[in-house]
């Protein structure tokens, strides 16, 4: 497609949306630490690996090799993946459920914002990506530990997305 550029209003809104989701993911992580003493995501790498928790890549959004359409697609697909992961955490624990619900709704809305922008640019794939397969957490501990990993990685994912959006917003 001819060189595609993103409208300024999309940059502003999606950046704010990214910061909003990032703030909520941080709140979720703080609650998991306070309530369930799960405060160190680095201690959960092996568990995350054994649970088969997938991670979203934003390779096309890195400033070294930024491809706008690829970046949008990866951003949208990544948000759908996190929406699915957050859905799988349902019933994580009474203290956390409202945070997880709010975060899932905000991630879903952000995915919609990106998808509608791709549609407006006429670059949206025929079918919207599905939530994808996510692990089945079989214990409260797995859901809580999974919650720490998802919240922690979602913040890193959004940090990359914000950097790409800032990079794209430069005149």
């Amino acid at each position: 497609p001819p060189s595609v550029s993103l409208p300024h209003s999309f940059m502003l809104k999606s950046s704010e949306q990214a910061r909003r989701v990032q703030a909520e993911a941080m709140v979720m992580q703080e609650k998991l630490c306070a309530t369930h003493r799960l405060c160190h995501p680095e201690e959960l790498a092996l568990l995350g690996h054994s649970l088969g928790i997938p991670w979203a890549s934003l390779r096309s959004c890195s400033s070294r090799d930024l491809q706008l359409l690829g970046c949008l697609r990866q951003l949208q697909a990544g948000l759908m993946l996190y929406q699915g992961l957050l859905q799988a955490l349902a019933g994580i624990s009474p203290a956390l459920s409202s945070s997880v619900d709010l975060l899932r709704l905000d991630v879903a809305d952000f995915a919609t914002t990106v998808w509608q922008q791709m549609e407006d640019l006429g670059v949206a794939p025929a079918a919207q990506p599905t939530l994808g397969t996510v692990p089945a957490f079989t214990s409260a501990f797995q859901r809580q530990a999974g919650g720490v990993l998802v919240a922690s990685h979602l913040q890193d994912f959004l940090e990359l997305a914000l950097r790409a959006l800032r990079y794209l917003s430069r005149p």
Binding site: K13, E16, R19, R20, A23
Partner: protein
């Protein structure tokens, strides 16, 4: 079989409209009277000679009455039988009169970042004298609200209230939605004008938190005409880029506010100079969303600081 039965042209009419009613008295009740006489009362008033009474083919007695203009909003119509000189009440019907709902107006909405719900309020319009249901209706849309995407669950306000809150799970943030109010009673329905808005563009922003800095920890020899302070935005709005304005004036006397702005929404150290020495000042701040639609927050409570 009913002793007496009233049937109405309509139980609810417009104020001043006519009402026709018939009262049918079964033979089992009227046969004891050689010449059974059906009488009507409206509220407490006996309606003299107003009903046309006839014997029906099945032997029952029927009286038909027309009230030319019903002027009370709520009253009772009673059907009596004059039974060995005592008025016997056989049936009664409730009559309502009022107006179809006026068009609700002044619809406005605010997004609450603490409850994450969108609260809309409206003016109901003139009293209809009838039970009238208000419903806040909306659907998700895109762009400039020309297309209708998913409908949103109706928001039904508590009785008698003219506001309703749409919970977060029914909202699609950062996209436009169409919102209106429907008023409905027995005499009709009316709709308010529609609003087209993104909930995040109507956030109710709270003011930032101002706090004093200890001058001595800031500078070696604090200037007598300066004050040191810091502020940070309202926590639920941390993620929103905002710009702010600071206003200040001596606490005593009636000086008008001096104002500084635009200022960033958070700073750990701000020096305000050009003030009168040894004077107590009141400082306030407000903020507004940057680059994107939004309203000014109210002014923060005063921070009271004294120049040295």
């Amino acid at each position: 079989e009913k002793c007496g039965h009233i049937s109405l042209s309509a139980p609810i009419v417009r104020l001043g409209d006519p009402v026709t009613a018939s009262c049918t008295v079964s033979q089992s009740c009227s046969h004891l009277e050689p010449e059974p006489q059906i009488l009507w009362k409206l509220g407490a008033e006996l309606l003299q000679h107003r009903g046309k009474q006839q014997t029906q083919p099945d032997g029952s007695q029927q009286s038909v009455i027309t009230l030319p203009s019903l002027n009370s909003t709520h009253t009772f119509l009673h059907c009596y039988l004059n039974w060995s000189n005592s008025l016997q009440l056989l049936d009664q019907a409730e009559l309502w009169a009022g107006h179809p709902p006026a068009m609700p107006y002044n619809l406005s909405c605010l997004m609450n970042l603490t409850t994450n719900s969108l609260t809309c309020q409206w003016e109901p319009g003139a009293d209809t004298h009838l039970p009238t249901n208000f419903t806040l209706k909306s659907f998700k849309s895109r762009g400039d609200c020309q297309t209708k995407e998913d409908p949103i669950k109706d928001c039904v306000p508590a009785d008698g209230q003219s506001y309703c809150s749409i919970p977060r799970k029914h909202l699609l943030l950062y996209q436009n939605m169409v919102i209106w109010v429907q008023a409905e009673n027995a005499l009709g329905t009316s709709l308010s004008p529609q609003l087209c808005l993104d909930p995040m563009d109507v956030v109710k922003l709270e003011p930032p938190t101002l706090s004093a800095l200890d001058p001595n920890s800031e500078v070696a020899r604090p200037r007598p005409d300066c004050l040191w302070l810091r502020w940070e935005p309202w926590k639920p709005s941390f993620y929103m880029n905002q710009k702010c304005e600071l206003r200040y004036r001596p606490q005593l006397g009636e000086a008008s506010w001096a104002q500084v702005g635009p200022l960033p929404s958070r700073t750990t150290r701000y020096e305000l100079c050009g003030l009168r020495a040894a004077t107590a000042y009141a400082l306030q701040m407000r903020c507004i969303r940057l680059h994107l639609p939004g309203d000014w927050s109210s002014w923060s409570p005063s921070l009271e600081l004294q120049t040295t």
